[in-house]
């Protein structure tokens, strides 16, 4: 038997088998890759070698709210002897104290009906010479926002040596002011 045909057969068989092997290897590679990705996604690691650091739970998160009395009892941590509390007033014993409420954002504006909205009147000749009218003549509804429900008197209390006083009642204020101005002259 001649050498060339044998060599030819070997070369042909080798090339065909390599082709099959190459395609098969690539398919296996892709299958393995996909399997690996799925396994990674399906099974998260059982234990993570790390220290779990969690923040201290907030009262709000636990569904609790601090009452006014509890707030009043809070004292600063002291190194030495006990310090007096800074504010010992209770809810009922001091009616002049300001209301301790958080800042509210106003509610969404209520839908205005036609009767609640008044158009600005057209300026008459007499008014034309006077100061221009404001366009914001909007009737507020009976339902005011929570901010507006807030007691205005207590909101703008003035703190004096005698405690919280209504600024409108502080009639001696004007005379005191004059005295101060005179003194500084």
């Amino acid at each position: 038997m001649e050498l060339i045909p044998i060599l030819s057969l070997i070369i042909l068989v080798a090339t065909i088998s390599t082709f099959v092997l190459a395609v098969g290897a690539y398919i296996l590679f892709k299958v393995r890759e996909r399997r690996g990705q799925r396994a990674k996604a399906a099974a998260p690691p059982a234990s993570i070698p790390a220290e779990l650091i969690a923040p201290t739970p907030l009262m709000g998160d636990m569904g609790k709210s601090r009452t006014f009395e509890e707030s009043a009892q809070i004292t600063r941590p002291t190194g030495g002897g006990a310090r007096p509390t800074f504010f010992t007033a209770t809810k009922d014993n001091d009616p002049t104290r300001p209301q301790m409420k958080p800042t509210f954002t106003s509610l969404a504006p209520t839908k205005l009906t036609g009767s609640q909205f008044t158009r600005p009147e057209a300026p008459t000749r007499a008014r034309a010479t006077a100061a221009p009218t404001r366009v914001t003549s909007l009737k507020t509804s009976a339902k005011t926002s929570e901010t507006e429900q807030y007691d205005k008197k207590k909101k703008f209390m003035r703190y004096t040596a005698e405690g919280y006083v209504d600024p409108s009642r502080d009639k001696g204020g004007e005379s005191n002011k004059q005295e101060e101005t005179l003194r500084w002259r």
């Binding site: 030819s8 390599t18 190459a22 690539y26 296996l28 590679f29 990705q37």
Partner: protein
């Protein structure tokens, strides 16, 4: 620049930095060799690195236009890196991308065969295919990123030549090789294997052996790698080229890919 799984030879740094005496040289590519040999797959890769990668880089270095500064060893001038915009993470072949960016800014890139870095090669076929799949898609991504230079040689002529070489290597060459082998099989099966085709194949094999002898002599490498050139031609290249072709198709189809993780066995000198 040195990869974590590579080791430098004692003279590597001295040999590499000497090229920076030329102010036009922005980077130097080193010589990558396989460390974990004595296995048929890693020996084939050792031959591939010597014959396929280093010989090509030596040729490109004549024009100082090396197209890829390999990850295991690369020397960069700081200004060249700065001009190129540093490494990007938008391709899977960031070394090819960085090289193209440096070339685009007008710097020259040289090759130093005596700056040797020994790297670890995949020992399993699955790992090898994974590596080549990533390389192929990464290089295509880098080419696509710099496609402006492919069709417009007026911007940077050097970069245009380099990019066309990369297009040939990554797209045309694998396709031609696969087509040639399929043609060979079909002719052999349908028309019978004539003595002419067998002689043609043998002549190609002799050419491969001659090239291997030359490269191994030039690099002062192991002589035992020479017979691998036959297996390299018949088997290794086909396997790699089919993976390259499939990866190219997947890249153009936009199929999702990830970095994956190559298994490392550790270098003997690293212990």
């Amino acid at each position: 620049m040195l990869m974590g799984d590579s080791q430098l030879s004692s003279d590597s740094l001295r040999m590499g930095v000497r090229h920076f005496i030329d102010p036009a040289v922005g980077a130097v590519a080193g010589n990558v060799k396989i460390m974990n040999r004595k296995k048929w797959l890693t020996d084939l890769q050792a031959l591939e690195y010597i014959e396929g990668l280093n010989l090509a880089r030596a040729a490109q270095a004549i024009a100082k236009m090396v197209n890829i500064i390999p990850g295991p060893i690369g020397f960069f001038r700081k200004a060249a890196l700065h001009d190129g915009g540093y490494y990007s993470s938008d391709t899977y072949a960031e070394d090819a991308d960085m090289t193209l960016k440096i070339l685009a800014t007008g710097w020259k890139i040289d090759y130093e065969p005596n700056a040797i870095s020994y790297t670890e090669a995949p020992e399993k076929l699955h790992q090898l295919l994974k590596q080549r799949y990533r390389w192929t898609r990464g290089i295509i991504q880098a080419i696509r990123k710099h496609k402006t230079y492919i069709f417009n040689p007026t911007i940077n002529f050097n970069n245009t030549i380099v990019l066309w070489m990369m297009v040939f290597e990554s797209l045309f060459w694998p396709a031609m090789n696969i087509f040639g082998n399929v043609f060979f099989i079909v002719v052999g099966l349908i028309y019978g294997m004539s003595s002419l085709i067998a002689l043609w194949w043998i002549s190609i094999a002799i050419l491969d052996i001659m090239a291997a002898i030359y490269c191994i002599a030039a690099e002062k490498e192991e002589v035992r790698l020479i017979p691998y050139s036959i297996v390299y031609r018949v088997m290794f290249i086909i396997i790699i080229d089919i993976t390259k072709a499939a990866a190219t198709v997947e890249e153009f189809l936009g199929i999702e890919m990830n970095w994956g993780k190559l298994e490392r066995v550790g270098l003997p000198g690293a212990k």
